[in-house]
Symmetry: C2
């Protein structure tokens, strides 16, 4: 039986899970590949930590370069994370002509192009299924299963922390801060949750997906990123009354000459497949000219689900090595020469539906003032609901719009905010609906 040697860098959560699968599921992997995928070396700074995995003698080391420079190792699995030393180690591994498996979304989102080029130059693969959606086979589905499609859009719930918090607010009527505290207590959110709740984690994944789906280079800084900290239980409650749920959505669309790629709290119809994804799950919908809509749903994080995707990648590369078919699938989905730069549409230029919540003095004529300003900016109203009557005091007024341009929306809201009858800063939330 052929033997392929694997070197692991980093024994954090996912690194340990990967080791666990390689060691404990060795026999089933042999049955499916006809090869012995052997974890030869694993490097970590802390070798004394109990990890619940029985490593073969001689596997563990403190020295990363003992792994990267081992001539017998075919595949390096980078599980360190971050954009500094992880990048250095991947570059060294690629230069040593070793295939690389990584889940490092931040690094790929910001330096993917450079690393992929180096991989091609050295005739090796970089696999990164676990970087987006954890266990969900979104990279493989786009690069392989849907390769016959022109992909037109990919939307996703890509951060379990945010989805858990928003689900708690929606299902239990909690306030944002209480839902966040509960997410932290249950291990769904970090002590410093900024990276998740401000949308940066989702943004890294969005950049990877958009590049892959549309064959484009994406400049990460061009993405529009808005987190969920401004979402209140009031808006979630009103959204429900209008048949919507609020999700932190990654929205990407191929508009032909440009790409939409934005991350923000989004109202979606409750009968939309993504609206049904509750709690810490992730889900991704891909739209293609042949496939229609395909939705994949699973655990976007966690030791074993993420490691499942890492091991899937290792097996893919192993099968390539066994058949001498390195770089059989283009790393970024398209042949390198075919990858184009397309601009990302600035947020001001997008056309979408909007939800506005105003808090207005309850006097005759206030609605016509607001509607008049919206109309002047070409914003057409789909429905208006004044929630309760409260003469001479403030009442919430909800407006849902037809398709409108964001720049005009912002101008209109600025003008409306300046009116005397407007008692609070207006709230606006983008809606992703089927209106074309």
């Amino acid at each position: 039986m052929k033997k392929l040697n694997i070197g692991l860098l980093g024994l954090g959560t996912v690194g340990t899970g990967t080791a666990k699968i390689l060691i404990e599921n060795k026999e089933i992997i042999k049955k499916k590949t006809g090869a012995n995928l052997h974890l030869k070396k694993a490097a970590d700074i802390d070798l004394n930590k109990k990890r619940g995995v029985v490593f073969e003698k001689g596997t563990l080391t403190n020295d990363v370069f003992e792994v990267i420079n081992d001539d017998k190792i075919d595949i390096i699995v980078e599980m360190i994370g971050g954009k500094t030393i992880a990048k250095e180690f991947i570059i060294k591994a690629l230069k040593n002509k070793k295939h690389v498996v990584t889940a490092n979304k931040a690094l790929l989102a910001e330096a993917g192009e450079e690393l992929f080029e180096l991989a091609y130059k050295n005739g090796v693969d970089i696999a990164y299924e676990a970087s987006v959606g954890g266990a969900i086979p979104i990279i493989k589905s786009i690069r392989e299963s849907l390769a016959g499609n022109n992909i037109t859009a990919v939307n996703g719930i890509l951060n379990g922390t945010c989805n858990y918090i928003l689900s708690q607010i929606a299902n239990k009527g909690m306030e944002f801060k209480d839902a966040l505290a509960q997410a932290q207590a249950n291990g769904y959110a970090e002590a410093d949750p900024t990276f998740d709740i401000e949308g940066f984690d989702t943004a890294h994944k969005t950049a990877i997906i958009a590049s892959l789906a549309y064959g484009t280079k994406i400049n990460f800084d061009d993405l529009y990123i808005e987190g969920i900290t401004g979402i209140t239980k009031t808006d979630i409650k009103y959204a429900k009354e209008f048949g919507y749920l609020i999700k932190l959505l990654a929205i990407t669309k191929d508009l032909g000459n440009s790409i939409e790629a934005r991350i923000h709290p989004t109202m979606i119809p409750i009968n939309n497949m993504l609206a049904k994804i509750d709690g810490s799950l992730n889900a991704i919908s891909v739209f293609g000219d042949a496939v229609g809509e395909l939705m994949l749903c699973g655990y976007g994080a966690g030791m074993m689900p993420t490691a499942s995707a890492v091991v899937g990648d290792i097996i893919d590369i192993a099968r390539n090595i066994l058949f001498n078919a390195k770089t059989r699938i283009p790393i970024a989905g398209f042949m390198p020469a075919q990858i184009k730069s397309k601009p990302v549409t600035p947020i001001e230029d997008i056309l979408t539906n909007y939800y506005f919540r105003f808090f207005l003095l309850d006097k005759p004529n206030v609605l016509s003032l607001v509607a008049g300003i919206l109309g002047a900016y070409g914003i057409s109203i789909k429905s208006v609901h004044q929630k309760e009557r409260n003469p001479q005091e403030g009442v919430p007024v909800i407006i849902i719009t037809h398709l409108a341009k964001e720049a005009e929306v912002k101008k209109a809201l600025k003008e409306i905010s300046a009116l005397d009858i407007v008692l609070q800063k207006p709230v606006f939330i983008r809606i992703e609906d089927d209106e074309k």
Copy 2:
């Protein structure tokens, strides 16, 4: 640019869709594969039919063997269906050392082993993603993405006709026959719907999935198959009251020494991912020791979604040919020598939860009579609901059980049916819940 030639057998719905993608999406496929995947020949008995596809001159032929015996053709796409001539043509193609793509679930379920063996003997691939779940990449996910997992269960909604009918009954309170008539009117059901509504279509797909997930040979005749024609709106209504929906479910489990593989109407909790799949969609949940649960959802039928999967297979094989990596993935997911025969658990031996609906004379003590018989057969009651009181006449009584053995359930129901107080034949529906 390298050119690979494709031959298509059969220009029915999916065959035509496949031609359409190969012709109309040729450029995007070039960008993703670096090769020209050229539809060289397409055979059909009716060449005069308008199909809305512009074929290159000389592509169409009446003669199947002009395609199968064309030396320049690398990949044969069998889109004829059925178990007779389609099988003959596939065998001939394999013997001519051509790779085969097919969506022929009936043929694969009943003769897959023989065809796979012939493919190995001739060093070529058989790809069959479109045979299960239409556009959904379930075969690829099991064979590749989840290859590091011991897969423990795969459950699916694999027939859009049945799901559409059951959704209509559940959502609109229709009777079965009216829902069926509407499915027929809307093109979701055939004029003769037997094959779909009696579960045979689902069963073919179940056999394929179970073989693949567990590395076993499945004797198709050992599957338990029960359709949805016995499902009434009454039971769907009661199911809802207990927090369940009724779906025609393909249930497969690896029990170690045996396999469960059964198709029947099943109550599942409304918060189960599969319960949220409405209308004609298909969805499949895979459970593995690392991945947890992964759900894939999409169009299980239809011209373009199914053709999307067929073209995904063509591209996979093309990439293998370009890298000289034929049979890179074992056709049935496991290396041929590792595939074992495991018996399918007879339906009488399964252990599951049950829903019973009795129609009993409303007299004191009738419940204790029924409960006594259930108890005598070791069937433990989880909850009982008598729907309304109607002294001296019949009332419906619903019982939900803890895990019970089917053989005992049938014996108990037979004994209960013989009681004077039982006014109608009892209804029983299996429940798939988390109780272990």
